[in-house]
Symmetry: C2
Subunit: 484 residues, 2 copies
């Protein structure tokens, strides 16, 4: 099945259907959306389509399917793996969902919001807060990332420990299938056992099975109380033991449990203005923990004080501080959230987003660092992130003496293969939260279980037999189909 470029007649029909606000082929209008967020992948498109309604999306997909023209759906264009960047062929239609930004309904009583695909995450946060509720998923790109993209990438963030990834918050979905049929599963059902769960299939499908146009999302009670602490300790093993103690003592209250190594904190203190060391002495590892409780819940600060006090006494941790107010809490979070920026300022690195079973993460952190540093002498491992989810950002920085770009050009691919092999050998994933997109496609094909790949290919071919939906993303084609 060969994909075709749209001819003038198709472009004219699309222009007519979408109107001037919904259709452009002007290079200047398209340009900002043709490069991925990390600035590494540049694509081209035949036109930029910006439908204002689900009905317009249906018509676009029907026309594209009839003409065998590829569609690349795009939300906030904040993919970490170039999942929303078209290929360089310039034959695809880039379909932006950004004009579909209505929150169709939101109910405090029901704890449900129905948001269109183009709703920006921070706008949903605000809408929920305005009715005394909370949409608990949050991440750095919240001012850009859209609901459609967050669903399609099964986004994570720093509250996964308690609330799960996007799929856990998904109560319903509306999507346009690759033949232009509308799948109306937007009704917010807590229980529905009518066959394969298409909601869950679309979560994380990266737009390869159709276009998510709206989602019903679960809202939680607003967090009335929160407590944030910074802890210094000796090893990730101690950190995990501390997490288990906190969980036992607080029930469901622990939302975030983030780990940062000493050299990571040092980068932040060196490069980020206005931050200061949270503890008086150095420690090999640091943990940021946040506990919250709704109105009427147990004060999370009391529980943190008790558990951390006991942990210091028993020698499990070395030191800890609990934020005295919102200002201090924000300051502690800034240390964690500045990690990526501080690292970027310090120099480039080979970055990986790996997960392993939570219980194996402390051993993985030690053994993977040892293996990488042995295989690539002088390379410096910096691993930090979501210890409670078994997910760290495992970054490998060039040796101090090396010229960064040249070293990475020579060794980067081999470093990544080693890190991915080590994660896979621990039963883990080469993409815990960023997805596959374009940039991890080859590594996914190389490391994946053949049964998993075969199942993915079969599902893709079954639902998108023409292959028009976001081609070249997520699903490694079979060897005999590589030339398509």
């Amino acid at each position: 099945m060969t994909l075709l470029a749209p001819d003038d007649a198709l472009l004219a029909r699309l222009a007519e259907r979408l109107g001037p606000r919904g259709f452009t082929t002007d290079p200047a209008d398209m340009e900002p959306w043709l490069t991925d967020w990390r600035g590494r992948v540049h694509g081209k498109a035949a036109a930029l389509l910006s439908p204002a309604s689900t009905a317009q999306v249906v018509d676009i997909v029907r026309m594209a399917a009839d003409a065998r023209v590829a569609i690349v759906p795009q939300g906030g264009n904040s993919s970490m793996v170039a999942g929303a960047t078209p290929s360089a062929s310039g034959t695809a239609l880039l379909l932006s969902l950004r004009r579909m930004r209505a929150i169709r309904s939101i109910s405090e009583q029901d704890g449900v919001a129905v948001a269109e695909a183009g709703v920006v995450l921070s706008d949903l946060h605000d809408a929920a807060a305005a009715i005394g509720r909370r949409f608990p998923l949050s991440l750095g790109a919240k001012g850009t990332a859209t609901i459609g993209g967050l669903v399609s990438t099964n986004a994570g963030g720093v509250q996964v420990l308690r609330f799960g990834t996007m799929r856990s918050l998904l109560l319903g979905i509306e999507a346009v299938l690759p033949d232009g049929a509308l799948f109306d599963g937007i009704s917010a059902l807590r229980k529905d056992n009518r066959g394969y769960d298409l909601r869950q299939l679309f979560a994380g499908a990266e737009g390869t099975l159709g276009i998510v146009t709206a989602a019903s999302l679960r809202l939680y009670p607003a967090a009335a109380q929160r407590a944030v602490a910074w802890i210094g300790l000796a090893t990730p093993h101690d950190a995990l033991a501390l997490l288990r103690r906190l969980e036992r003592a607080t029930g469901d209250a622990i939302e975030s449990f983030e780990i940062v190594p000493d050299d990571g904190l040092a980068l932040v203190l060196r490069h980020i203005p206005g931050v200061r060391a949270p503890l008086g002495q150095p420690h090999a590892w640091h943990v940021l923990v946040e506990a919250t409780a709704p109105e009427g819940g147990l004060d999370p600060r009391d529980a943190l004080e008790r558990v951390l006090g006991d942990a210091i006494e028993s020698g499990l941790i070395e030191d800890a501080t609990i934020a005295a107010g919102e200002g201090q809490a924000e300051a502690l979070w800034k240390l964690r959230e500045s990690m990526s920026e501080a690292e970027r300022i310090d120099g480039i690195a080979a970055k990986h987003d790996v997960s392993v079973p939570v219980s194996l993460m402390p051993d993985f952190l030690r053994s993977a660092r040892d293996e990488v540093e042995e295989a690539f002498p002088g390379a410096r491992v910096l691993a930090f992130g979501h210890l409670g989810d078994g997910n760290v950002h495992f970054n490998v920085r060039p040796p101090l003496a090396a010229e960064n770009a040249a070293w990475l050009a020579e060794h980067g691919a081999a470093v990544s293969m080693l890190v991915h092999d080590l994660a896979t050998a621990s039963g883990g994933s080469i993409s815990a939260e960023h997805g596959i997109g374009q940039t991890k496609l080859a590594e996914f094909a190389r490391t994946a279980d053949p049964a998993r790949l075969a199942a993915l290919r079969a599902i893709k071919a079954a639902l998108d037999p023409l292959g028009i939906m976001n081609p070249g993303k997520l699903v490694p084609l079979a060897p005999d189909a590589q030339g398509q």
Copy 2:
């Protein structure tokens, strides 16, 4: 693609591979497993296979695929929709997972159990309790139902409000695909964005995409405290308002919120020995609520007392009692759990397992009852169950004067069509928790959105192109394939 009966050579090879404990064609051995749990559907099988290992399941599926012979997987045989009963043709192999009952690992630290498909639910409960943890999914058939069946039917139960259905508890899966390939996704990853989530696809697939051989399951901290209350009130609208108050006041503590109408309670009091009315006066509707807290959590009894006291004062509810101890708590639960039995003793009924968005359920209960009683004069609606999940068992009993079996034979199908149409019109599901199996297949085909049906058929055909996995269940065939 026509399915074939196994020939003698295939049966001999299976017998050799599985040994005497794993293979039988003896009618007496097979007989108990050829009728569904509700005793309405009777099937036949060419042989009963009882593998002891995943490797044996792989070999069975390979042999069956080569020979185009159907396989019907079966766990505890407690399906409510005859999902594990073979057809009357007698050409299928009945594959029991009951010998695969190892709990491969269970960890208090990690909160993860890896259970083989044949592990009985109550055995998993016991194993979790023995290490101070809890597997929170529970249902009436817990002494029979197996993990493989619970995954394959995405089972619900009375704790869904807080912990979700089986798919929410699923961290990993091991399954044999229809071509005999082993999908090894058993690693318990909290985060993994490598393509379509096959774990979630298998949850609720009713064995039509392959055979689940093991699952990694999430364990929660044991509930250290629980409080159970029985409440009398005027309407389901009041009940839902009460639930929202309780949620606001207790955070995540509310686990169960079950509704029972006055005539339902009357049936229990009439037919079940040793029970007594929980409140002094009659009430139109009753609610059973259970709140729990882990070690260190807020005492759920305090919160219940406070909220229920306020609700009586404000007139939202009429009366309430909180169980003073475990004995009283069990007595209250017995009232709820005896509903189905009491109804069965009283006479047969047309039963439905419907869901609608939670917020619409109070209106649905009123309007659906009115419509059914208007269309079928004298028919008596008895609806009860999981109000907090938007899921009730909506049963329609024949008129008092009618001969039950004759009335149901004449009107049962029309009653079910009306109930299903009303649920569908409210954006709801004709199968909230029981699945589709055989007995709801026609109604599913009749009521489903064509886009949903087309997607289900495409996925089924893609992953099971020979159609050997549990044929005739869950997926309504396309009209042009009905003769297969």
